[in-house]
């Protein structure tokens, strides 16, 4: 029974991990920006949710949506600021890595200065009362609520990418930005929008992340960024559908490790990351392209 419990918990956490990582994959896929501040954006979403709950009594589920508009706008503006230096750089991926490392440090410092470095939490009762019983096991209700909220959010991103003209243009840029411009796509504009959407979905998951990771504190960004990188590398860098697969693999593997090898479970992100890089560098859903 414990095995079934771990698998179900792994799937619930896996859906959350997919939601947590999808923005990073979107941002990386479009402009090859290595956003080391990804976890810090989640952290800011968490603090926004905490503030909205305690000051205005707004449900964190509503905050998932409320944080989106300001972050899309912020992302659009940030992209316009960094696009010039990145497009002129010899090695834009390395420049973005350094740039966003700096952004990460600044965000962490600013939040610490203004809000202190204590961990904050939002009570589970703000989302649900009591546990959920499933297949004879009892699970915290918030796990189901967060996993349930993750499905439509990830689904919306996938719908946007695969069912809208802007989404198809985004995937065209992911495939080849020059080729995309050569069919008439304004690459700079679409990339800026996508960067905004990527940051917004990241801040959005931050609003409910405290229920899955125990709270929100200014220093959590680094660990969340590593976790998200592991998920997108496992699934396939630049492949949005792969993020869901990566999240589920990561979630189930982590929960099983917690069950059978609890003291080793914190190694899971790194072990999976190394295993994928060594044996299938293109990720689980990475595909070979026919060459002739």
């Amino acid at each position: 029974m414990l095995f079934e419990y771990a698998v179900v918990a792994g799937v619930l956490f896996g859906l959350f991990y997919a939601f947590l990582s999808i923005g990073l994959n979107l941002v990386f896929g479009v402009q090859r920006i290595v956003n080391l501040a990804h976890g810090d954006v989640i952290m800011i979403g968490g603090f926004a949710s905490w503030e909205l709950y305690y000051t205005y009594h707004i449900s964190p589920l509503l905050s998932v949506v409320l944080v989106i508009p300001p972050t899309v706008l912020a992302g659009f503006i940030i992209y316009r600021l960094i696009d010039g230096p990145l497009s002129r750089a010899q090695d834009p991926e390395m420049l973005s890595l350094i740039l966003f490392f700096g952004v990460s440090q600044i965000l962490e410092a600013l939040v610490t200065i203004f809000l202190g470095n204590n961990q904050r939490s939002i009570p589970d009762s703000s989302l649900v009362h009591g546990p959920v019983h499933f297949l004879g096991q009892s699970y915290p209700g918030v796990w189901w609520i967060v996993a349930g909220a993750s499905i439509p959010m990830v689904g919306l991103v996938i719908l946007y990418l695969y069912r809208t003209k802007l989404g198809t243009a985004t995937r065209a840029i992911m495939a080849d930005p020059i080729e995309a411009a050569a069919v008439g796509i304004d690459v700079r504009k679409v990339s800026a929008i996508t960067f905004g959407v990527g940051l917004a979905i990241t801040a959005s998951v931050g609003a409910i992340a405290p229920f899955m990771i125990g709270g929100v504190d200014p220093s959590e960004g680094v660990n969340l960024t590593i976790l998200a990188f592991a998920v997108i590398v496992i699934g396939s860098l630049g492949n949005i559908g792969g993020t869901v697969v990566g999240g589920l693999i990561f979630g189930v593997a982590f929960e099983l490790a917690q069950l059978y090898l609890p003291s080793w479970s914190s190694l899971i992100p790194y072990v999976l990351l190394l295993a994928v890089l060594l044996f299938k560098p293109s990720g689980v859903l990475g595909k070979r392209v026919r060459s002739a």
Partner: protein, 238 residues
Amino acid sequence: MDSRFVLRLSNVVSGYSDLPVLWGIDLDVTENETLVVLGANGAGKSTMIKTIIGELPLKEGSIELLGEDVGKYKIHQRIGMGLAYMSELGVFPTLSIHENLMLGAYGLKRSDVRHRLEEVYSLFSELKGRKGDLASSLSGGQRKLLGIGKALMSNPKVLVMDEPSSGLSPLYVKEVIASLSTLTGTGRAMVIAEQNVSFLQLSNRVCVIEGGRVSFEGSTTEFENQEVLHKAFFGIEG
């Protein structure tokens, strides 16, 4: 400007970083004309095509497209004016055949897309049966046909192609030439940068680039009468 010219390059100097590759190219392309740009590897053919579409900036000179100076225009702005480009790759491998074609019509109104799609599918019927397949699943030759179809989706006035024979076996080259031959004389101008002289059967005019300069420009007949050039490109006595 003479209205017959749909594309005009005047004293174009262009290249990568500080290093020019093209040294003052002058070239006119008229409507309904097929111009084949011949040259060896590194002669500057691709640089010229990339400069025409705006991937590489002009260092000197000007480019006029349909009577308008487009020297400062970005790629997507030039494409929106009636220019289409088919690169060596030609397609988005990770997108489906249908999505590739739809992207070719990116700037078109929704009402015009269906008509264009029907026309392109009628030209390349083998693509229609596989429209949900990824472009990466196509053979090299089929990918080129999809690339041509994608470029035609916008119903361009000027179609520029960078080595459409690249990476293809002679059989597929024949297939690509046969497809392109259906487009000649249909009102649009085509500029084809090539090393493969088989493409001369499509051309009205030939331009030879050597060392970033135009070393010959004239009709296909004139080119064939130039013994030295004929020997250089066909490898046999004229």
